[in-house]
């Protein structure tokens, strides 16, 4: 398990990393940090989905402190990792259900296809293993077979799934589930919701309704609103978070699909913009593939100190043209 944590996260992140790390090596091995080099570095950050603002800030800090001096790629990576970790450190907050609430109600939201249901299955396992009594609610009453999908997870991880009839009202279902979870003494109630694009007013209103209706039973619910975010998402993630936060008061993020070739650099931009806690990352389709979010591991993984350097000559241009990791 301990091995699993780092090796899996690293395996996932190192792919995100190879391109960025390799690129930095190619650009900076024994070179002057001049304008051209800074521009290339900015490009590399942008290509990692860090977002123009964060990329520009990193470049600015290099420009003022190291401009014109000879730097090695190792120095660059250390500085860059430190900068990224600095942005991420405040948001690396684990998700801890509050034992005062019985149950602690977590509403899981996000756009379509980003891994909400899978994440809930993984969370049920994780917190179940910690000895909590976890219940899940199949609140995606819209998508075909979403209920069945969660039920399979329930069987897998041994946690009860509360479901209604197809096309049932999600708010009513959440209300009943909360009542039942309270009666049965659950510690954690994970509510799945249908995926929805943040720019669909009516669907976002539905989400607000789920919250309103639950509050008729427990006015402190939901205690967490978790936004699930796909690591392959580009700059639109910022708008997603902004709108979900505004309309349903998101309390934390979970970033999924970090085991792919996507860099997940948008997380840095999100931390910078919103400062919302990043609770966990998803690194695979199995029940155990959920990890607490660690700023340092993420930053190091993104910058890649252990990545073998590519040849300092000749590779630059090619890299600028974006070889896949």
């Amino acid at each position: 398990m301990a091995l699993g944590f780092f090796s899996r996260l690293k395996a996932g992140l190192s792919r995100s990393t190879q391109k960025l790390g390799g690129g930095i090596a190619a650009v900076f091995t024994r070179r002057k940090l001049d304008d051209a080099a800074l521009e290339e570095l900015e490009d590399l950050l942008i290509a990692a989905d860090l977002g123009p603002n964060v990329a520009a800030r990193v470049i600015e800090s290099f420009r003022s402190s190291r401009f014109g001096t000879e730097v090695t790629d190792e120095e660059i990576r250390t500085a860059l990792a430190a900068e990224i970790a600095r942005v991420l450190e405040p948001v690396a907050v684990p998700f801890v259900p509050d034992p005062q609430h019985r149950p602690h109600v977590a509403l899981v939201v996000g756009v379509n296809g980003n891994g909400k249901t899978t994440t809930i299955g993984k969370m049920a396992r994780f917190y179940g293993e910690q000895g909590l009594k976890v219940m899940m609610v199949a609140g995606d009453t819209f998508r075909a077979a979403a209920v069945e999908q969660l039920q399979v997870w329930g069987d897998r991880v041994g946690a009860p799934v509360i479901a209604g009839p197809p096309n049932a009202d999600a708010a009513g279902l959440a209300f009943d589930a909360l009542k039942r979870a309270r009666a049965e003494g659950a510690d954690l109630l994970l509510i799945d919701t249908a995926g929805r694009l943040h720019n669909k007013g009516a669907l976002m209103e539905e989400l607000a309704k789920i919250i309103r209706v639950m509050r008729k039973f427990d006015e402190t619910a939901p205690h967490s609103v978790l936004l699930v975010l796909d690591a392959t998402t580009g700059q639109n993630a910022i708008e997603q978070v902004r709108v979900f936060k505004e309309l349903v008061n998101v309390t934390g993020l979970i970033v999924t699909k970090l085991d792919g070739s996507a860099r997940g650099g948008i997380v840095v931009a999100l931390a910078d913009t919103f400062g919302l806690p990043v609770h966990a990352v998803g690194v695979g389709e199995q029940a155990e593939d959920l990890r607490p979010f660690s700023a340092e591991a993420f930053a190091n993984g993104l910058v890649g100190p252990s990545i073998r350097l590519s040849s300092p000559d000749g590779d630059e241009k090619k890299d600028g043209e974006g070889d896949p990791a």
Binding site: R15, D43, I46, A47, A48, D49, P52, V111, N112, G113, N114, G115, T118, F142, R143, A144, A145, A146, E148, Q149, Q151, V152, W153, R156, L197, H198, N199, K200, G201, A202, M204, D230, T232, T233, G234, Q235, N236, A237, E239, Q240, R242, V243, K257, D259, G260, S261, A262, R263, G265, I266, E285, G320, E321, G322, P324, A325
Partner: protein, 475 residues
């Protein structure tokens, strides 16, 4: 309608500058006459580059594009009839449309011996299964094909059940689920069933897979070898970031992508992944998904996506969205009144309600030309729907006669209305002034027509008076 938003969100402040937007702002600074110099173009290209990166076009694709366009633009003669900004904008826009595949939609290739296999591939959660259902419905209804849906997704829980349920909704048969079969076995069974039962098309929906997952990529290679699909469609989420190039390259190398489907085009992502996909695979973007309903599948329109990528907005998309969301009868009534110049405050209130229904205001702004900059200038806090609510309150405190003929609202009526709606006389004045401006603009829209509006952008709607000194800044 566009005019209204201006007035609602920015009150009486002049919007001309801001509306010229991200690109047009730079282009306005270009030399006014003669050939475009290298420096002029370089400045504009920096903005184009940023706009494209903001839209998630992959960096190498952006670089390539900018280089080509720069070559094309430098030395370009600027005719007297258009501004240098318009000239460069046209070059950029044309090049982008070109890069996205040029005019005209590319249909699905069904030229093969039936049953024609269509293979759906992509990352997890990109929308393959929903898209499979949509394509099945489209082929069954529009082209009267006999379509079989088969799910080869043995990875995700209940994925096969999902496709079966979608098939039922679409009224299309699906391959019976046999637990324990491998994806390759299911593919074989699907093709056998297709042949035996005389299907025209068999859609093979595969499990989502990461491009770096060797085992699963091999599996999809095997499926392809087994079925020789006429189309191998890569399904891509429009929100995808820079990773689009990696995904496109990996899938293309593994299975030879013949077409791309962009999903979630109904979101407010600017969809730069479309350009990356096209550039890397060389395969045309054949279809776009724009909603959760099974008929929400459309042909790809390069010119719309080009505008979206450049941050010039997607007016056509906005109009469609409006048409989807708004109450048709009410809209038509209002439109007619506008044409006749009889638009009154009741209609305004009705429209406020409809705008509220369209969802996130910033999402709407993103679809409007030049609004990116406005949004930036405003920051988040000013995109506030409370103005809408205040306007509604003020209008509800008016008598019917006042709403029909706002001109009769003088000092004492204003006081009463302000008191009744919990606002101030200034608020009432502001609303009346905006309503007045709006009516003026509607007359202009009528004169211009939709085509003119799209050609000239929103600046055509702005009051023609002298520009305010220095062009007061926004936000």
């Amino acid at each position: 309608m566009f005019a209204q938003w201006r007035d609602i969100f920015w009150g009486e402040r002049p919007l001309f500058e801001a509306l010229s937007g991200k690109l047009s702002g730079v282009f306005d600074g270009l030399a006014k006459r003669g050939a475009l110099s290298e420096a002029d173009v370089a400045e504009a290209m920096r903005e184009v580059r940023l706009a494209m990166l903001d839209a998630d076009v992959a960096l190498p694709v952006v670089k390539d594009f900018v280089t080509k366009v720069r070559e094309r633009a430098v030395g370009h003669e600027v005719l007297d009839s258009i501004s240098p900004g318009q000239a460069v904008a046209k070059i950029v826009n044309d090049a982008l449309i070109d890069a996205l595949g040029g005019a005209g939609a590319v249909p699905l290739n069904l030229n093969a011996v039936p049953p024609v296999p269509i293979l759906m591939v992509g990352l997890q959660g990109s929308g393959k299964t929903t898209t499979s259902g949509k394509i099945a419905l489209r082929l069954a209804t529009r082209e009267r094909k006999k379509v079989l849906l088969a799910s080869l997704d043995t990875q995700r829980p209940a994925a096969q059940l999902q496709l079966q349920q979608l098939a039922e909704r679409a009224g299309v048969p699906s391959l019976p689920i046999v637990p324990g079969q491998t994806p390759v076995e299911i593919a074989r069974r699907a093709m056998d069933t297709g042949r035996r039962e005389g299907f025209d098309v068999v859609i093979l929906d595969t499990a989502g897979r990461l491009s770096i997952d060797e085992a699963l990529m091999n599996e999809v290679r095997e499926i392809r070898a087994e079925t020789s699909p006429a189309e191998t469609l890569l399904v891509v989420d429009a929100m995808t970031g820079q990773d689009a190039v990696n995904t496109a390259r990996a899938f293309n190398e593994a299975v030879g992508v013949t077409g791309v489907v962009m999903t979630r085009m109904d979101g407010d992502a600017r969809g730069g992944a479309a350009l990356s996909m096209r550039a890397v695979t060389g395969a045309p973007i054949k279809l776009t998904g724009s909603g959760e309903k099974l008929d929400a599948l459309e042909e790809f329109h390069p010119e719309r996506v080009a505008g979206r990528i450049l941050g010039l907005g997607d007016i056509a998309g906005l109009v469609e969205k409006a048409a989807d969301t708004l109450d048709h009868e009410e809209s038509e009534k209002i439109a007619l009144k506008m044409m006749q110049g009889k638009f009154d405050l009741d209609d305004y209130a009705a429209q406020i309600r409809q705008i509220a229904k369209m969802g996130s205001l910033s999402g709407i702004l993103d679809m409007l030309p030049g609004m990116g900059k406005v949004k930036q200038a405003l920051g988040d806090k000013d995109l506030d729907t409370s103005v809408l609510k205040r306007h509604q309150a003020i209008i509800s405190s008016m008598t019917r006669a006042e709403r029909k003929t706002p001109a009769i609202i003088k000092a004492s009526r204003k006081k009463r209305i302000a008191a009744g709606s919990g606002s101030t006389v200034q608020d009432v004045n502001r609303l009346l002034k905006q309503f007045d401006d709006m009516s003026t603009m509607m007359k202009r829209i009528n004169k211009l027509g939709m085509k003119g509006l799209m050609r000239q952008g929103m600046s055509a709607l702005m009051p023609k008076g002298p520009k305010p000194p220095g062009g007061r800044p926004f936000g």
